[in-house]
Amino acid sequence: MKRVDGIDRKLLWLIQDDLPVEKRPFDAWAQTLGIEPGELISRLELLRRQGVIRSVKAILRHRQTGFSSGAMVVWAVPGDQVDRIGRELACRREVSHCYERPGFGEYNLFSMIHGRTDDEVLRVIGEISSELGIDRYRVYWSLRELKKSSMNYFREGGGEES
């Protein structure tokens, strides 16, 4: 757990919002914080190196970018193979997320798998199943998005807004 100072807290609060699309997009934020844009950028870089900020990037909507299909696939993996198979899954480009999650019966490895079409996703799932020798798995297609938002870690109860 990293310690963040007052300016960093305010910065983290700001940067979870949307960056304005203009030539000098960081200037307004720097002004809000009362620091130079250069200092704001070096603070961001430091927070990224410390791992507090995972990345600064554009977050895409996949339906507009050609990856219209995706499924959560849960795999039943013997306990002594979770490590190896988890790593193997993580190596695949089509797998965006992979976690070990106990508590869901025999299904202990959770993954998100993406493709252009449902068939493509199914093909990848079949490949993984045969290559890694995991016979037992369940596919959960996304049918309806009820909520999708970004967490703002410093907005709630932080008392930093001024």
């Binding site: 757990m1 600064v56 977050i59 899954l89 009820l146």
Partner: protein, 174 residues
């Protein structure tokens, strides 16, 4: 607004993407340049002008291809707790479920999925106790069991994806 917007070569009025757009998306979905003039850096890497880079990114946001540009914060590095929850909700109670679950700011994603259980949501809280309280509350109010499935180990959270359980796939597939 479309009338005043400059028409960009290779892009039609509905905002269809050309190869430069794809290149920009590929670039900035991995990492947005941390410089005082990030669009200049994007322009240099894609062979266009800074003005055009600004204009194209603006269009990609208007068309909905880009949801947001900003930081993805690691809840773990701040000591926060995150978990995936699941519940079986009958079809005729999904709206009720959605309005209850979505009313919590701590719930970031909520999906109806095929199979059983059919409802899956992610929860991010400052500590484990708060997550457990919320899960208990939701379960009580719906009269349903809520499965709490925090990760024991993280094997992959793709850097060009968002943090959450289901999120953005890579912009290119080779």
């Amino acid at each position: 607004m479309d009338n005043t917007d400059k028409q960009i070569k290779g892009m039609d009025a509905t905002g269809c993407m050309d190869h430069i757009d794809r290149k920009i998306l590929s670039l900035i979905s991995k990492s947005f340049p941390l410089t005082e003039r990030p669009f200049l850096s994007i322009a240099e890497q894609t062979g266009i002008t800074e003005d055009e880079a600004v204009e194209r990114v603006r269009r990609l946001k208007e068309s909905g291809a880009i949801r947001r540009i900003g930081a993805v914060i690691s809840p773990r590095s701040l000591g926060w707790h995150s978990t995936l929850c699941a519940a079986e909700v009958p079809e005729d109670r999904i709206d009720e479920f959605a309005s209850l679950v979505n009313s919590y700011d701590q719930v970031t994603h909520n999906y109806v999925r095929s199979g059983h259980p059919n409802c899956w949501f992610t929860l991010i809280t400052p500590d484990k106790a708060q997550a457990e309280r919320i899960i208990h509350e939701i379960g009580q109010r719906l009269g349903t069991e809520i499965l709490d499935l925090p990760a024991r180990r993280v094997f992959k959270i793709n850097v060009s994806f968002d943090f959450h359980e289901e999120d953005e796939p890579p912009p290119e597939n080779g």
